[in-house]
């Protein structure tokens, strides 16, 4: 099942790339996608296909906009700090805990954090994330977790757990 979905994903991307419905392209696409699947299907993360469940997919959609919004905010934040003559920054690396268990979820979380205001994931050990924060507000794990992780985590749970 998982592998078939993986095959489908690849095939879909192929169709987008070739952007035509000529029988030759369809045929070759099948071959290529099959080849890719057989070669690499086994390391494809299973959560990658879970998202096709309608409910999860809906939350993915939601997450997408949340994420975009955060990202835009983050950019203006950076713009502010960079353009300001006095460089108003108070950087440091803080530690936060995540409730997510799946690799996929954690990866999404980490990358989302990296792309959102003033924070960047430096490392992830166990369920702890080390985050470089351009403007550290408190050294306390709980509070940082609230500020940085929570609003993503809530949605990501629904998608990947």
């Amino acid at each position: 099942m998982k592998r078939f979905l993986h095959f489908l994903i690849i095939y879909a991307v192929w169709l987008l790339l070739t952007w035509s419905l000529d029988w030759q392209e369809l045929l070759v696409g099948v071959l290529v996608a099959l080849f890719a699947e057989l070669l690499l299907g086994d390391i494809f993360p299973v959560e990658g296909v879970r998202v096709f469940h309608p409910r999860r997919f809906f939350w993915l959609f939601v997450y997408f906009w949340v994420f975009i919004w955060a990202m835009i905010r983050s950019n203006f934040d950076v713009a502010y700090r960079v353009l300001n003559i006095y460089l108003p920054i108070k950087p440091g690396i803080v530690k936060v805990r995540t409730k997510l268990t799946s690799d996929m979820g954690r990866t999404f979380l980490a990358n989302s954090i990296t792309l959102t205001p003033g924070t960047m994931t430096v490392d992830m050990i166990g369920d702890h994330l080390y985050i470089h924060w351009i403007n550290v507000q408190s050294p306390d794990i709980q509070k940082d977790t609230e500020i940085i992780v929570r609003h993503f985590e809530r949605i990501l749970e629904r998608i990947f757990e």
Partner: protein
Amino acid sequence: MATKPDIVIADGPKGMTPIVKTVVRFAMGIIFMFGWYIVLYGHLTPGGGFAGGVILACGYVILTLAFGKELGLRKMSDMAASILDNTAALLFAVVPMFGFLFGWYFLNFLDKGRPFQLFSAGNIPLYNIFIGFKVTASLFAIFMALSIFGRFVSKLVDEEEEG
């Protein structure tokens, strides 16, 4: 060892952080497909065998970087690489010989098809495929061969210019 499925190796301690690993696992299939896309469309868009081969080789390199040598070699062993390499080159040299049957060496004897179809330009896609295989195999082989000397790489930069 040989029985151990790749997924286990992928989750193993070697290689980079779970974040990187997950991303690579997630994107790998599509990268691979993209490489073949470039190869197969070589006669319609630029690139072709060589560029596509480079991308495919890069795919293997990413695997090696993210999961360590073992998985990379599992996906393409030294033996496989050299065989693939040589077979591709051999075919590339031999297939045009059939052109002699039709008069000229390298004669493009297959059906040319309509322009802008995938199966147009007769033999050329064939050659692109051979080149693709060859470039993939040999580049990956080179990477592996050089990565064995990884120890030197640091020295190679540390060594100070004399005079």
